[in-house]
Symmetry: C2
């Protein structure tokens, strides 16, 4: 029944009233940014909201992807000992002001509540731009002894940041995310947690979203406001720009000191705790679109696709009596095998229209069945990723389909990895760097680096490139000189133009 | 690993620092309202947030109950053809003003955002007190033809209402809920949907929360601001007061007209659609506490309990070598059978302390195991609801435990139903009505009613009782006279003092 809503009805035909047929979208080559928006709207992932600049509505098909992300990531977070909770949406202004760097980083983006009903509030309330402050306040209230540690809590929540330039999924005034907030007895334990979560993110994004990422540490200029160290995973989009796909912060004792998160240690001495925070957001859906999508629309990895297979019956003669029952039987067989299936039995559309529509929505496998197929006890399977088409006997169909789904998942990851490798460069020359960054699809550039924030700012001004992170896996910088200043390099940095 | 967080560590010992042992709570007889708050805090379901009056933090144990509610209800909503989506948190003031009754009902409770960063907004934004307005706006944008109907969308979201008097779970400034919003071609279809969902709510709440409810229609005075008809399910709490546990609204064409939710009909004529909305919230957790709880704390129905069984190993001698491995094996056996299990192997607490702690948290079954039990190949099982204690052979244990869980679920529903029956009265006399309502645990009072809003207001002023609903199942009012005015009765009303 679910499918009735995610693909059919619900005003599914186009972004605005009237365009009742599959309309072509802008090609990637013509205008990548326009292509992205076209896919978001035409595949009905999200829509603009009248009167609310920068706020998107996540439509059922887009939200079904988010539900898959939640389900698959939540299981991983619980398996590593984390539990969920829910903390208030509001942060009193005086609390927000307690951690100086944090305020400086977030205050410009905060939405402020000033009135409740007809009354003016005594103190303004910030809508959470992130929850370290309010969660830290509660942890200070709860934490007493080293025996209470570690505290490993996550929350799934909405977040508001007043952004000037917005783009659906990638940067919106309101977005959805999970934010983990943990408290530890010692610094090494906090660091271990920070890196453990980064590893969970990398494994999750690569396994389920088929999106290869580079793990590494952020430069000081790019780290989270208030963090001691920030780590990130960075993915490469189809246009050669990078997307920060997740971050994990070791907050040191900064927040513990600002919010008095203290405990009595094993030595009976009261001391400040060590905290971390980490998150991924609906931004991942933007990443999915740009890593795998093509000129026909979305291409979804089977693990994350709301529907893995769409069945399109071919309407010949009295097909509702002859073809449809077979299509339904196949659907039941696939569902029983654990496959997520959509049977598109709408009368109002032709098979060709449906093919284009479900390609736009990125369904990994299309299954066609008509009267002749039934005679021959076969169906037609078509892959969204390679466009391969094949006759397959009905006997043993679900095993065959599952094999395809596994192969599509692996193919998408391999393809995205190959594209990234092709667009990953190494240079020791700033001139070459500038040429690379001025290219059509610039990609990642690794370069030996002197770790100087002023020089970093200059590179950004001159080339729009930023340091994505200092990758864990990279050529050694030892003995090299910085590609900009010629000073001794201390680290290998990965640069890119970023979303 | 999950259990490490929901029961152990996390500053689990008491509401404030220092009270490191299980402390007694106020008894229900002494002060029911205080008892309720004691259970909320001591069972670590929720906590107050410093500086945020009326905002609660839902702690991991309370949130795990909400996750169970979400999971079990979401499956029912999907099985009846609904899908999830996510709409913006904000509603521009001009949009909110479009449906007159709705504004009048909600404007006094709205929190207003006036600033984004340092800039004053051109138009104030309401934080959603409910989402008819913003969702209706999107539906107007999407809906074109009768072929797009019905639209059956639900969202899980946070809601803000500026309440003057608050109480954790029952009435808080921010709360969590699901809100369904549907659009239909005809009035009968909208009415059918409204009643279908009411039925889903009743079945869900009775089956999973073991909370018997009365289905019925609200009086005009009590209906949702902007609705044509409101239906509710009403439960009776341990103190004889009623709790509205869920509502389902037939909105007629009120919102369709205010927000121009129109479509081209089968007759090619453009027409306004018929809409519904419906929701249940974290309030259900408050209901759970008050329907089943006792002077030892929470009593959770097994279907909704984060842990259905807590295993407490008895620490004799080198119990970590002798007893613990058996406890772990039993845990694994139960988990494999689909039981949610917590093994409390903490050293710092005695078995007696653990017994009291897990009683406070309402775990349905306690399993004790010590060296003598291992010799005899048995364990001790203790029920939270009846306090029955029994030796049970290890052989076939998980089948036995599952039998107990089924029985506890049924027993809790039966017990709550019996209590409700005992506290349900029928009267045709206003004097008797006043006496009943002045009693210690007043309960439900059915009475023949003239359906007059002015008289309804008078009854409320004089007795604090309100009409909970006009129950679907009730004695006929035909030929009766109204218990207040003596005028001919038109309907049988169910009155109660309510939360």
């Amino acid at each position: 029944m679910n499918e009735q809503q995610q693909g059919k009805g619900q005003g599914t035909r186009g972004g605005g009233k009237g365009d009742a047929f599959v309309t072509a979208i802008t090609s990637q080559g013509e205008d990548y940014s326009r292509w992205y928006l076209d896919v978001v709207l035409r595949a009905e992932l999200a829509d603009y909201t009248p009167g609310l600049k920068g706020c998107m509505t996540i439509r059922p098909y887009g939200y079904a992807i988010w539900e898959r992300i939640q389900q698959l990531l939540d299981a991983r977070l619980k398996a590593t000992g984390h539990v969920n909770a829910y903390f208030p949406l509001f942060i009193p202004e005086s609390l927000l002001m307690k951690e100086a760097e944090h305020v400086e980083g977030f205050a410009p983006e905060v939405a402020w509540v000033t009135h409740g009903g007809k009354e003016k509030l005594e103190e303004r309330l910030a809508i959470r731009p992130t929850s370290e402050v309010i969660i830290g306040t509660m942890y200070a209230k709860w934490l007493q002894s080293w025996r209470d540690l570690p505290i490993l809590i996550n929350q799934w929540a909405n977040i508001v940041r007043w952004e000037k330039v917005t783009r659906p999924f990638l940067r919106t005034t309101e977005f959805l995310w999970q934010e983990g907030h943990t408290v530890h007895e010692t610094e090494p334990e906090a660091e271990e947690e920070t890196l453990k979560i980064l590893g969970v993110y990398k494994e999750f994004v690569e396994t389920e979203l088929a999106m290869p990422v580079i793990e590494g540490r952020k430069s000081d200029a790019e780290k989270f406001a208030g963090a001691a160290k920030t780590y990130s995973i960075e993915a490469l989009m189809g246009d050669g720009r990078a997307l920060q796909a997740g971050t994990s912060h070791n907050l040191g004792q900064n927040f513990a000191k600002a919010f008095e998160i203290k405990f009595q240690g094993r030595d009976k001495v009261e001391q400040h705790a060590w905290t971390t925070s980490w998150g991924v957001s609906t931004r991942l859906i933007g990443g999915l679109i740009m890593v795998h999508g093509d000129d026909s629309g979305l291409v979804l990895p089977p693990n994350i696709a709301p529907y893995q297979v769409v069945i399109v019956p071919i309407p010949r003669g009295d097909w509702r009596e002859t073809v449809l029952p077979h299509a339904q039987a196949i659907k039941e067989q696939l569902v029983a095998a654990g496959v997520r299936v959509m049977l598109d039995d709408r009368d109002a559309y032709t098979p060709g229209w449906k093919f284009a529509e479900w390609e736009m929505r990125g369904v990994p496998v299309r299954l066609e069945i008509g009267p002749k197929d039934i005679e021959k006890q076969q169906v037609v399977l078509a892959r969204r990723d390679t466009r391969e088409k094949q006759f397959v006997p009905m006997d043993g169909l679900s095993v065959y389909v599952q094999g395809w789904l596994t192969d599509i998942q692996a193919t998408l990851l391999a393809r995205a990895t190959q594209v990234r490798e092709e667009r990953t460069h190494y240079t020791e020359s700033y001139d070459e760097f500038k040429t690379l960054m001025a290219g059509a699809r610039p990609g990642f550039v690794y370069a030996p680096w002197c770790d100087d924030a002023d020089v970093e700012a200059r590179v950004k001004t001159e080339t729009q490139a930023t340091i994505r992170n200092y990758p864990f896996v990279a050529p050694s910088a030892e003995g090299k000189t910085c590609f900009v200043t010629g000073r001794p390099a201390t680290v290998m940095a990965c640069f890119a133009k970023a979303y």
